[in-house]
């Protein structure tokens, strides 16, 4: 609480309304409170919950309707949120990162509540007792509508404090808060402060074969050709020598500091160029080319997503095999048409570097082929989640193409930490 000299009054963030009111009641202070969150007219009818969804909802209820539910992509996090709205029966604001998710949530909620759903974002400015807002629109709208909702749901809650600014959550009075994520962040401070602690968490391994499809993860070692190996050794060697020298003189400095320092000298720039060249060699060498063709032939007709480390490789594959790339450069209309053809099976293969990782409504796929990626466990879990939506008799397959004796080995080990050992090869 801070004293505002202009207003001659105490001020507090809207988010502390409930706690403040409780404290004043404890102290038997009489208050006049003009904030009345709206009760929902008509019941929300959520679909039947699976056991882990019910457990997550119960844990959230026990935690005083505040907390984060961490469930893998494809396991039905939205259904938990709908059940929470139904349980509380109060006006709810759902915050989502992208316009695509805005549409996806609107469809899911419209199927369970007979009244118009409010939408803030993508050109829409309609507020209703159940409203979905993109993070960006919520920044503008929170000061005006922050007193209307009793529950706030934050989708992809690992972005709280970053993409979803903490100020948005401070401007909402909603005492009930539910965060949804597939990948809780390493630092939980902002999330715990504005949404609550992680109250329920399930990994891919725990739900495989139950809430998620059965899964096989296969790692295929890829050998470089002698010429590729020679180039890789040379470029990686140049980079590693410069990096080691930098580490000796600047202990504890991170990658970003190295890049900044390198840009200032010719030697540093050469080291960075060598690092980029070494990555190019392993991004899509002849061995990965052959393996990809073989896998696509083996799974002909099955819906397959090919993940690459960068857009250049995604386009190289698209150019070579005449399959559809999904990148930020492909416009919305064309992308939707492509996804419709993917859904119908007419064009069963998509190739993408990052766009399909998160915040994108991708139809159910059966096979994921990771041609290249990063060390990020979060990204890997999101990618794998694309093939995990359950279906009767489905057995999802994930193939990782990894160049032998290369930097990719360490990346694969690191990113697998996001999964249970049960799904590791």
């Amino acid at each position: 609480m801070t004293w505002d000299h202009e207003l001659a009054a105490w001020r507090a963030p809207a988010s502390s309304h409930a706690a403040l009111r409780a404290r004043l009641a404890d102290e038997s202070v009489r208050v006049s409170d003009e904030i009345r969150t709206i009760a929902l007219a008509g019941a929300v009818s959520p679909p039947a919950l699976r056991w882990y969804q019910r457990e997550a909802l119960d844990a959230w209820t026990e935690a005083g309707h505040r907390g984060v539910v961490a469930l893998p992509t494809g396991s039905g996090k939205t259904i938990v949120a709908i059940a929470a709205i139904a349980k509380l029966g109060v006006a709810a604001l759902c915050l989502v990162p992208t316009r695509v998710l805005l549409d996806q949530w609107a469809r899911a909620l419209a199927a369970t509540w007979p009244h118009p759903i409010g939408r803030l974002g993508d050109g829409d400015h309609a507020v209703a007792p159940i409203t979905i807002a993109t993070y960006a629109s919520a920044i503008a709208w929170a000061p005006r509508i922050g007193d209307r909702f009793g529950l706030v749901v934050v989708d992809e809650a690992h972005h709280v404090g970053g993409w979803c600014p903490s100020e948005v959550l401070e401007m909402l009075v909603a005492p009930a808060r539910l965060g949804l994520t597939a990948t809780p962040p390493d630092s939980l401070d902002a999330l715990a402060r504005h949404v609550g602690p992680v109250v329920a968490a399930m990994t891919v391994g725990e739900l495989v074969g139950d809430g998620l499809a059965e899964l096989d993860v296969v790692t295929l070692p890829i050998a470089l050709s002698p010429a590729e190996r020679k180039r890789y050794r040379r470029d990686r060697g140049t980079f590693a020598e410069a990096y080691r020298a930098y580490q000796r003189t600047s202990r504890g400095a991170g990658w970003r500091a190295f890049v900044t320092a390198s840009a200032r000298s010719r030697g540093g720039r050469e080291a960075l160029a060598a690092w980029r060249a070494s990555r190019e060699v392993i991004a899509y060498p002849a061995g990965k080319r052959a393996a990809l063709r073989e896998l696509l032939a083996r799974h002909a007709g099955e819906r397959t997503i090919v993940f690459t480390a960068d857009n250049a490789t995604a386009y190289a594959i698209a150019r070579e095999l005449l399959v559809m790339p999904i990148t930020h450069e492909i416009g919305r209309g064309e992308r939707e048409a492509m996804l419709a053809r993917f859904r119908s099976g007419e064009a069963p293969v998509l190739v993408s570097s990052q766009v399909l990782d998160e915040g994108f409504d991708v139809p159910d796929a059966d096979v994921a082929i990771v041609v290249g990626g990063t060390a990020s466990a979060r990204r890997h879990v999101q990618r794998i989640g694309r093939v995990l939506r359950p279906r009767a008799g489905k057995r999802a397959r994930v193939y990782e193409l990894v160049v032998e004796a290369s930097a990719e080995i360490a990346q694969v080990e690191q990113r697998r930490e996001g999964l249970m050992p049960a799904v590791a090869p």
Binding site: I139, R319, L322, M324, G331, P348
Partner: protein, 377 residues
Amino acid sequence: MTAAATEVDRPRAGRELRLLDASDTPWIAAIVDELVRGAGERWGSVQAEIERLEVASPPRIASIVQALRRLCGGRARNAAAARRARALVLGAPALDRDARRARIACAASALGVGVEAVEQMLWSDLAHERPVVLPERRPDACVLAALANERTIQRALRRAHDVTIRVWGDPRHVLHAAAARGLIAAVARDGDATTLDISGPLAMLHQTAVYGRALAGLVPYIAACDEFELALRCDFGRGEIALRVPPTALLPPGASRVRWRLVDRLAAGLGKAGLVVDRDPPPLVAGAQLAIPDLAFERAGARIHVEVIGFWTEPYLATKLARYRAAGALVVLCLDGARMHADDTPPPRVPIVLFTRSIAVDALLAVADDALRGPPG
């Protein structure tokens, strides 16, 4: 509507924005040589070769590459054809050479072009994938420097809290361009110059990207003035800095004609209603400040001014009305509904017409008649 400054603090004279000049043309020419060598190759690989030249700092090289892309064009021109080709060609994976060839041949026949043309069309709208197609004439180093400078200034404007533009010569095209973009601007006479104080996108609390784009769009009009000075306070994420653009900045030829269809249509509508319309009324002087109406017309023996307002705040509207009152002129303000938020309400009892897309002549005349009658009582 969120609060944005109406009377902004003038940016203090800051450091000069680093722009390219004639001394940069040798290294720019080296980049052009590399581009010419790479004609027909993928932009991505040509750009990598250009970066390897290391003829200037990476941001400077990037600014010239961007200017080259703009000069060579292709993205928008090829977009429709590329989408059509992709819809026909991309599908199930073509796992061998024959299957691939057959798919391309089939698309070529459907499009009525050759096989090679289809291969080129497929990616011809993607920044790094499309082939480099040189313009008819070799790109001139000075032109590229000017284009890069224009972009550098526009980038700074997108990150501005406030901007002061001082122009010499006829300022009307700059003022109309600012109005047509809905910018929040205060105009004043300053000796033989005209000064515009404009709220920057960082002074707004929403629609900052849209507003920033609108502000950046003003640069070609400023460049068309006899002389100009530009001072801005901006924030690139490392704290606020004051910058200025020198009058000698190398910029592309400016645009001195503002085509504003909205006001043209309104003028035509008023003309059809039998009114005498002045499409280019002179600025009105209110002390040291100026009011810039977009058109004026005669009604019942009185002269009514019309000004179209894009982004606004309540204090901004109040200042605007006070300025017309001080100039002894009648005005009707037209507020663009598309630039408002649903919860914004214009202040009551002021001569305002709300519009979306076009201004209704009847509504405008009704408000004008109210204004002519004066306040009730």
